[in-house]
Symmetry: C2
Subunit: 387 residues, 2 copies
């Protein structure tokens, strides 16, 4: 097992009606917050009212900045930073899914920085401090509610970049599974694909000793495969929503894979697709992951056989190639059963900018990926497999 440092300081408040208590949690940290979100559904379903009501009850002032969109934009982050500086705000309350939370984290970093917050995302600078962030999660999938990650799209440069830093781990996150009732089915399926991707990215490791983390990751994958189709049939079932919501958090808070190397190349590749074509991230992952698997499988066939047999229930036999192929097929069928596309063509993504995407994904480095190191030409081949 590899050395590691693990701390997951987010307080999770899980259950019905949690948003009505948000003021009690905020007031321990701040008396003036920026509420940050996007989407009319928060007003339509009364979620915003319940949050502001609870803030008022606890004597917390607030300023609202809405307008967050999927693949959250740097321009809105700048706006949030400006408001925080002008209004002396010291806490960002995100309401939403990964986009609202990631955007809030970026504002939290930029509000106490003299330079351009993009410096942190482009790797030019390392943050020393940040405002505190709390979240009311409405769309599970990203895991951002308990993670140290934030990913922002620089729309001027067609770039999507991320940062990992413990400064932006949320203080608290309120998880009310009933929030899932408001999510359009396609977006929920994208969230489920994102969860599964987060598990795969941890699963495909070069670490030799990984008995516990293998079993934990496989266990979480099996739960996704079990609950996903149930959720699809009965999207307002509280228990299914609970499972998916907690799965999203657990899959990305760093505990299941502590002590092992992970591989985020497929995430990076997808970011370049969604940076240009603005498709939903989880939907993009359902296209990229099977292609990535087909391309890298020879790197460690034993691992792919283990996935196929332990998670997808493929019967092991002597023909390892076949077992692996069946496993990847099962994954594609799973995504399809959720109503997701598994090829670029089906998703109406043009196939003429592969070189550009691959080059951006690699950036200034020589390669991306750890399970298999991928150079520009490898990424182009993976994108071809996704046609």
């Amino acid at each position: 097992m590899e050395n590691f440092i693990f701390k997951s300081g987010t307080k999770i408040i899980f259950g019905k009606g949690g948003e009505n208590t948000v003021g009690e949690h905020v007031v321990k940290h701040s008396h003036k917050v920026l509420i940050h979100y996007g989407g009319d559904y928060l007003k339509k379903f009364g979620i915003l009212d319940r949050v502001t009501e609870s803030l008022k009850k606890n004597g917390v002032e607030y300023v609202i900045l809405d307008g967050v969109v999927p693949n959250p934009r740097l321009s809105l982050v700048y706006e949030g930073i400006k408001i925080c500086k002008q209004e002396n705000i010291d806490f960002i309350l995100a309401i939403g899914g990964g986009s609202a939370i990631d955007s809030s984290k970026a504002i939290a970093l930029g509000a106490v920085y003299e330079g351009d917050v993009w410096d942190f995302y482009s790797g030019k600078a390392t943050p020393k401090k940040a405002l505190k962030v709390g979240t009311v999660l409405t769309i599970p999938g990203s895991g951002s509610e308990m993670s140290e990650s934030s990913i922002i799209t620089n729309e001027d440069k067609n770039l999507k970049c991320g940062i990992d830093n413990e400064l932006i781990v949320p203080e608290f996150s309120i998880l009310n599974p009933e929030m899932c009732y408001t999510i359009p089915p396609y977006l929920m399926s994208c969230g489920i694909a994102d969860i599964l991707s987060h598990l795969f990215e941890r699963y495909f490791t070069t670490t030799k000793s990984s008995v516990l983390s293998d079993h934990l990751l496989e266990g979480a994958m099996k739960a996704v495969l079990e609950v996903g189709p149930l959720m699809k049939k009965d999207p307002k079932n509280y228990d299914y929503c609970s499972e998916i919501m907690w799965l999203a958090t657990v899959s990305h808070n760093g505990m299941l894979d502590a002590g092992r190397v992970s591989d985020w190349a497929s995430h990076r590749i997808e970011h370049e697709i969604s940076a240009i074509y603005d498709i939903t991230h989880g939907g993009g992952m359902a296209i990229v992951f099977p292609a990535w698997m087909k391309y890298v499988k020879d790197e460690n066939m034993k691992r792919f056989v283990q996935l196929a047999t332990r998670v997808f229930g493929v019967t092991d036999d002597t023909d390892k190639e076949k077992v692996i192929e069946k496993g990847i097929n099962c994954l594609e069928e799973f995504f399809k059963s959720l109503g997701l596309k598994t090829t670029l063509t089906e998703a109406n993504v043009p196939i003429d900018r592969f070189e550009e995407m691959a080059s951006k994904a690699v950036g200034d480095a020589d390669h991306i990926g750890r399970f298999k190191q991928l150079k520009i030409e490898d990424i182009v081949e993976i994108l071809k497999l996704a046609i």
Copy 2:
């Protein structure tokens, strides 16, 4: 899924040589600490020296209180409290396993309390504050290094009582798997039995929707079953030690079973055995758990079948009784393979004080247990099954 609040604020520093950095972690919280431990091995293997060296290097003063024994005694806790008050100490640094950590947590509670710290353990009072605690873990098993629990033996009253409170969650815990090299094989086996018990206690639930937590708990159990025998054969293998050390922590920090009811009756029963006969807790659990299982299995046969088939690899068939019996047999065989006793007779525990143990286990309540509610007479029957 049940509502829950989860926060696990302990910073885990995992890897070789971690004890040499303890001063860096302590100094963020305190400049004068009580070092609390038991056992000559800490001196013999140079662990104590490495810890004090690191404290000195970081300008941290310390007072030492040794003498912790398995089933840690209230009398030593009183001594620690006295020292902390006299010496104005504000941080307890535990070195050891569950006993040293639990004793340290008790001192942390008592040092800022005017009354008798036993009030918290007997349920007479609820703590409002505590000193901070950090740990250098040397014996995995209890999970106390990342838990909110502390269990203390009141030797005058032959009572063993516990408290769960977030005030006593350690600030940091240093997990160096190499520490396992110093553990006598029998104690290591006891630790492994304790880990498995912590997983079973969470597994036997009355919560209906538990897809994810079932899979995670089963995954952790499978890891114990896989690594335990390897560890037995090759106790100084760094990777096996790593797996067991992290398993112990993960199994008891509350994340695997968030959102489900658990059942701690078997732990309570064992505490009454070890309170009188001073056997090692994990060794006691290897005796109590199979007996508890045999007694309660009819409460939810489906759950026992699931355990037998998914974890112990028993082939499912129409005779559920047989499947369950085979599962419990597998568990007993596993304990035996680790060199543990699975009956009171083998462990030389007299069998003439069952009524007394059962009565103490229930205490002032009407029953213990949630999966099946156990009254005094039920506990006596379980103890009889353990003969």
